[in-house]
């Protein structure tokens, strides 16, 4: 098994700690070494490229990419936002000599930017053999239907992130299926959830996320699976606000991809941090087959 540099990003270090925990847990089970980047900083998220001329949108991720370059050939960024920022910086650095010089000038060192940037889905697909997962899962998820939600920045722009089909991403499915879960037909799998508007322009989030939850329910899903902490925040943390704003009574759990894999492996909801979500996953959890431990 390979070792990866690991870029958690701000969310996984704070409000999405359960994502970090479950990711580490699953990686450990499959013997994937995670080497957290030394002294990493914020990737810049959405505001950086959109403010102060946008230069920060390159510099902040470039610094992390540069650090990653010191250790392993690939760096994994579970957060879809971080992943996108790193890929974007890499793309720009690759094709723009001037930019490379500029970044080197700020970092006081020639920038290392060729480390391969992978997403957690990519990494799992690479490192986890579906058959091995199936063997360990023992059909625990057989009763469960999932709406796989990819969001927008994970797959877009396609020529930069080069991850799956931007019109119909499916990369989560092989492992989830191997774990026994049913994947529903979910037409909103790559619509936007409202992004970072939660604080300053709530109505956008409420409307966008409401459609996503509604469609996932319509598809017959027991839960939404995501890989983005911001999406998670909008869909899970704000689900009650959405219910209030739109007079709905949604109660649809939203799980991280790594949490679902963890459940398949027989990890407890507590270990995976599922109990830290705003929407209770109890109804889903009772559907998990009680089988021998992992």
């Amino acid at each position: 098994m390979t070792d990866y540099s690991y870029f958690p990003g701000c969310s996984l270090a704070s409000s999405a700690m359960e994502y970090d925990a479950s990711f580490r847990l699953v990686s450990e089970v499959f013997g994937i070494g995670l080497d957290e980047l030394e002294d990493w900083t914020c990737c810049g998220a959405s505001p950086a490229p959109h403010h102060w001329g946008g230069e920060l949108g390159i510099l902040l991720p470039a610094r992390n990419l540069h650090i990653a370059g010191r250790s392993h050939p690939a760096v994994v960024a579970p957060c879809a936002g971080c992943y996108n920022r790193l890929k974007y910086a890499q793309y720009e650095l690759r094709r723009n000599q001037q930019l490379r010089e500029r970044v080197a000038q700020v970092l006081r060192e020639p920038v290392r930017y060729e480390t391969e940037v992978v997403n957690l889905i990519e990494m799992f697909n690479r490192e986890i053999d579906p058959a091995a997962l199936a063997a360990r899962a023992q059909g625990r998820l057989e009763e469960i239907s999932l709406a796989t939600y990819y969001g927008c920045v994970l797959t877009r722009p396609a020529e930069i992130v080069n991850f799956d089909d931007p019109n119909d991403p499916v990369m989560m499915e092989p492992l989830l299926r191997a774990a026994g879960a049913t994947i529903t037909h979910f037409p909103f799998k790559s619509e936007c959830c409202g992004s970072y508007m939660g604080l300053a322009k709530k109505e956008i989030v409420f409307r966008a996320s409401r459609q996503i939850i509604e469609t996932a329910l319509e598809s017959g899903a027991d839960a939404i699976v995501t890989v983005c902490p911001l999406c998670h925040q909008n869909l899970d943390l704000r689900q009650r606000q959405i219910n209030f704003a739109w007079d709905t009574d949604f109660e649809l759990p939203v799980l991280y991809f790594s949490q679902v894999i963890g459940l398949a492996l027989g990890a407890s909801p507590e270990e995976l941090g599922i109990d830290s979500h705003a929407v209770s996953a109890d109804k889903l959890l009772v559907k998990i087959k009680k089988t021998a431990n992992r």
Binding site: M197, L199, A200
Partner: protein, 188 residues
């Protein structure tokens, strides 16, 4: 009333700047509206994405730069993904936003600008985002003291919110990065 013979030529320099920076051709848009149909935010915009493209085609630069659309666009790129003419609409809007910043059009969506600024300031200070700090800073600056307050007990209970900010070691490098960028309107 738009006077086309004037607006088109008056807007031309900025339009070509937008085209150059975004790498997109404004005249390729044939106004099918698919960008708008698919946009998660357009209901909150003053100009839906296709109308914004139209205004650009007509050289109505100031309307675009002052628009709420330029600020509110989520950059989710759904429009770009679905545009039948393969126009990266999000890039066009994004470029317009950048130019608006540079040209000092600052009156629209002040809260949102404030949020973005607060976010970056927060990152400059701590190296990583301190979510609790950003929330309270934003609420105080916008005088919306109850904004998202309902979420706080939950976050506290689940231990998802940290009162103590994160720390990184190489703080000077962070400072330097922020110091050396030349963006318009950045804090000194």
């Amino acid at each position: 009333m738009i006077n086309l013979s004037r607006s088109v030529s008056a807007g031309a320099p900025i339009i070509s700047e937008i085209e150059r920076r975004s790498g997109q051709q404004i005249s390729a848009c044939y106004q099918c509206g698919r960008c708008t149909s698919t946009c998660a935010g357009s209901f909150a915009f003053d100009y839906s994405p296709h109308r914004l493209m139209r205004l650009l085609q007509f050289g109505m630069v100031e309307e675009v730069l002052r628009s709420r659309t330029a600020q509110l666009c989520l950059d989710c790129m759904t429009c770009s993904l679905r545009c039948p003419m393969s126009i990266d609409v999000a890039a066009v809007i994004d470029t317009a936003k950048a130019i608006a910043d540079e040209m000092g059009f600052k009156d629209t969506e002040r809260d949102l600008r404030l949020f973005r600024r607060g976010f970056l300031k927060n990152v400059r200070r701590h190296g990583r985002l301190h979510e609790a700090g950003l929330l309270s800073w934003f609420n105080i600056r916008t005088r919306k003291f109850t904004n998202d307050l309902s979420l706080v007990p939950l976050l506290m209970r689940k231990k998802k919110i940290h009162v103590v900010p994160p720390r990184i070691r190489n703080k000077h490098e962070m400072r330097r990065i922020f110091r050396e960028i030349n963006g318009a309107g950045k804090p000194r």
